[in-house]
């Protein structure tokens, strides 16, 4: 199985996402923002970073880059697409997920290991989790405050489209503690925290067992791998 990772000008975590895909057992394929070629990948990751220096709005220019035409087409026909941090912002700006992301309410950049509760375990990227499962993966952003109008928020909650919620202290003012969303079909998932930074013991968040041993992020990549192989 091939997982494509799109590199935009200003992407930072594209290599980490590729590495996470490989650790999960997939082949990682580097995709370039300026191309119109998805290179026959089976799933796509839009990685974290600061594409186009966050100019205009976070993710706004990347959402209009050449390869996004193909990414949007693929997403609309069911291909799994995961947007992480800046990638989540790109998905929102590309109208593949609703709402918007604004500057953290406290005004500071936040970087820490973040507890999340899995709210939807039937998406392409979360099927390896259980609903209600508590996981910990790194969070690092300046503009991670999720907002939507009351009607959209009610729809997201009513239809079970909230994929992840922050546990404990809300780190950025996101409405309803929303950390990540899925679309109705469950193939497009976006979240502010970074699963690709919690895939290998020695480099992940601390756990009660050992320092830096947390690998909760790996399940995102193994989920999409298993779902794709099961479909083949």
């Amino acid at each position: 199985m091939k997982i494509g990772v799109v590199t935009f000008p200003g992407s930072l975590d594209d290599r980490d996402a590729q590495r996470a895909a490989r650790i999960a057992g997939a082949e990682a394929v580097a995709l370039w923002h300026g191309d119109h070629d998805l290179q026959d990948v089976d799933a796509i990751v839009l990685p974290g970073g600061f594409s186009y220096g966050d100019y205009l709005r976070c993710g706004a220019i990347a959402a209009r880059s050449p390869i996004m035409r193909e990414v949007i087409e693929a997403a609309n026909s069911g291909m799994p697409v995961l947007g992480i941090c800046n990638g989540f912002q790109v998905l929102v700006e590309a109208h593949l997920l609703p709402g918007g992301l604004i500057r953290n309410d406290h005004g500071d950049f936040v970087c820490r290991d973040q507890g999340l509760r899995v709210e939807n375990a039937s998406t392409a990227w979360t099927s390896g989790f259980e609903v209600g499962q508590q996981i910990t993966i790194p969070l690092k952003n300046g503009e991670g405050g999720f907002i939507a109008d009351a009607e959209t928020l009610a729809r997201l909650e009513g239809e079970g489209l909230v994929a992840f919620r922050y546990t404990g202290l809300n780190p950025n003012g996101s409405l309803n503690d929303i950390a990540g969303l899925t679309n109705e079909r469950g193939n497009v998932v976006g979240l502010m925290p970074h699963p690709e930074h919690a895939v290998e013991a020695g480099f992940g968040p601390d756990t009660p067992d050992a320092m830096r041993s947390g690998v909760d992020g790996l399940t995102f990549f193994t989920s999409v791998l298993q779902n794709t192989l099961a479909r083949a």
Binding site: E93, P98, G99, I102, R103, D105, G107, I147, A148, D149
Partner: protein, 81 residues
């Protein structure tokens, strides 16, 4: 060449941390009647040729669809400079 100015503001009900920070600095400064600040964006579009109604309409469309995000911002002005 003519210029079309587009102005975009964060929605009134949304937190504007940059504006809030400047408002805080203004309060510390004192000696003036300014109680609040909000910060938006101004775009200047250089137009090749004449600004017709159709061109203004194109600018409005661009302002609505690309220069702003209606979830978080309002286009408050599209005018010829």
């Amino acid at each position: 060449m003519p210029t079309i100015v587009v102005e975009v503001m964060p929605k009134a009900e949304l937190l504007d941390p940059a504006g809030k920070a400047v408002a805080g600095a203004l309060r510390r400064e004192g000696g003036h009647p300014f109680s609040d600040v909000r910060i938006g964006k101004r775009f200047e579009l250089t137009v090749d040729g004449e600004v017709t109604d159709a061109v203004l309409a194109q600018a409005q469309k661009l302002a609505d669809e690309m220069l702003s995000n209606s979830v978080i911002e309002d286009v408050v002005k599209v005018t010829v400079a």
